[in-house]
């Protein structure tokens, strides 16, 4: 089973997110968003990143506000329960941010192309749209068999995918469950994978159910123990979504000054997991805990 890949978040981010690199983060869409890892990117002052994701649900906005981002490659950037995000708006409107405008389908297929090791994938979406104007990775093509008009989507191969999961062993074998969005495609397409996990568990627990594994451990570069690491997004089996935190973020990030205050409280002064949990506070954690349990029927992987 080789060497443990367990590391601290700082070490993992330093090693796997270098200035100017491309990072896929938030691949499960509204759930399992690696907020805590994203905040470490801000703390480590990473610069000129390209962020890749379907929707970002405020994390991209926070990284833009933290001056980490040069380019966004996404389907949607905002706050799903309140709408627009302000750092993002300002950055695009003052032309300090490059955009590759995707739909969720084109982004999915771009990462799937990367995962499959082919340079593009065909789709039927985006025809007649102006995404073609603002995404250099889309091209009109004809089907070699039917002659139909299609949208070819160029492959994306992120330098690093950061995913948050429920549990991982020290070797990068991790269980993920819930809606899976484009987690697998992003991991398979990326050169490096950083996993943050609610729990670090024994390998036997993970290998008791190899169908629930996110991506094979041999492809994973680093594993970080990060309880509540997806807060305020929800983690199936661990905690619910903190809607109020998303509403608060909207209200507290309307200007750059407001955002810096928010950042001081929620990012700059939160050095580690314990501090993050302390910031969230026991009252909120209790309110968000899973109270209605639905336990998966077991499956036997024996012989």
């Amino acid at each position: 089973m080789s060497v443990s890949k367990l590391t601290t978040l700082s070490e993992g981010i330093d090693r796997l997110v270098s200035d100017g690199s491309s990072v896929a983060i938030g691949m499960a869409q509204e759930t399992l968003i690696p907020f805590f890892a994203g905040h470490e990117i801000i703390r480590r002052k990473k610069r000129n990143l390209t962020l890749i994701g379907p929707i970002s649900d405020i994390l991209f906005d926070q990284l833009i506000g933290g001056n980490c981002v040069e380019q966004i490659c996404a389907g949607w950037v905002g706050n799903v329960i309140t709408g627009s995000c302000y750092n993002f708006r300002r950055a695009v409107e003052n032309k300090s941010l490059k955009m590759e405008d995707h739909s969720n389908l084109t982004l999915t297929m771009a990462l799937f192309a990367g995962a499959m090791g082919v340079p593009f994938m065909p789709t039927r979406t985006a025809l007649g749209s102006d995404l073609y104007q603002t995404n250099s990775g889309l091209k009109i093509m004809s089907c070699p068999f039917t002659g139909e008009t299609l949208t070819a989507v160029s492959a994306i191969r992120p330098d690093t995918a950061i995913i948050h999961v429920q549990r991982s062993d020290p070797y990068g074998n991790a269980h993920i469950w819930g809606n899976l969005a484009i987690v697998k495609e992003a991991c398979m397409a990326s050169r490096n994978i950083l996993i943050t996990a609610e729990e670090i568990v024994d390998s036997e627990i993970i290998s008791s159910d190899p169908n629930r594994v996110a991506v094979p451990g041999f492809k994973v570069s680093a594993v970080v123990h990060a309880p509540w690491g997806a807060y305020p997004s929800p983690v199936p089996g661990y905690y619910n979504r903190d809607h109020q935190a998303f509403i608060d973020y909207r209200n507290k990030s309307k200007t750059d000054t407001d955002f810096k205050k928010w950042q001081a409280i929620w990012v700059d002064s939160v050095p580690d997991s314990d501090a993050y949990m302390a910031r969230i506070g026991i009252e909120r954690m209790t309110a968000l805990s899973i109270t209605h349990h639905v336990v998966s029927a077991s499956a036997d992987f024996g012989y």
Partner: protein
Amino acid sequence: MLPQSEYTLSQLMVAAASREINDKEVVFVGMRLPMLGFLLAKSTHATESIGIYELGVVRDRLSPEPVLTMGDLPNLTHAQWLANTADMMGLLQQGLVDVSFIGGAQVDRFGNLNTSYIGGYESVKIRLPGSGGACDLSCLAKRHIIIMSHEKRRFVERVDYITSPGYGEGFEWRTRTGLPRGGPSAVITTLGVFRFDPQSKEMILQSIHPGVTEEQVMANTGWNLKTASPLFQTPIPTEKELAMIKKFDPSGYWTGPGSATES
């Protein structure tokens, strides 16, 4: 009939959205009011409809508790399927989705939607969140419904940027462009409900909400809008519908007075 004050505009719009769903249809469910529209249909006249959510959820039954957004954990519990976005998009791209819903910021007379760049890309005035799945739904569902606030700056002759294609320049534009099917079948706004001329594919005012005048709609529309004859009044939500909407949005976050959508 209830007096007008007993329901909000958002509730009226949710009820109108719900009526666009037929029983046993496969619905690709969006965020916000469309999600409530689906839940309302599912709990009233379309109990066997199937809900597909782009983040990888298929549901054939209501969630055990109200949800504010599709990623809320109750929306995952006892789902029919939890899988990948690619799986959901495959169902959509194959043509298995009957109807979908899209929120809009700017729309034009042929139902093209802009949720990306107000002012256009080069001279962007307001950057909006972007497509998400909206472009895919507008291209690939058998039909889609647009839900949005009705203001003159939002109802324009030609959108500044097409995030989600409607009927393009009208007539057979979609076929010419290579889109496999679909197009908007209705636009539900804060003032009325609109449909599209079967030939020209131009938007037509179909019904006005109670208390709204035709002139008011015209004054808030940036082109010479055609009106169906006869012009109907949008049905107000029934008591049962209101009760259901309140059940699904108990805090009134989406549909209460002063809610996110109302403000």
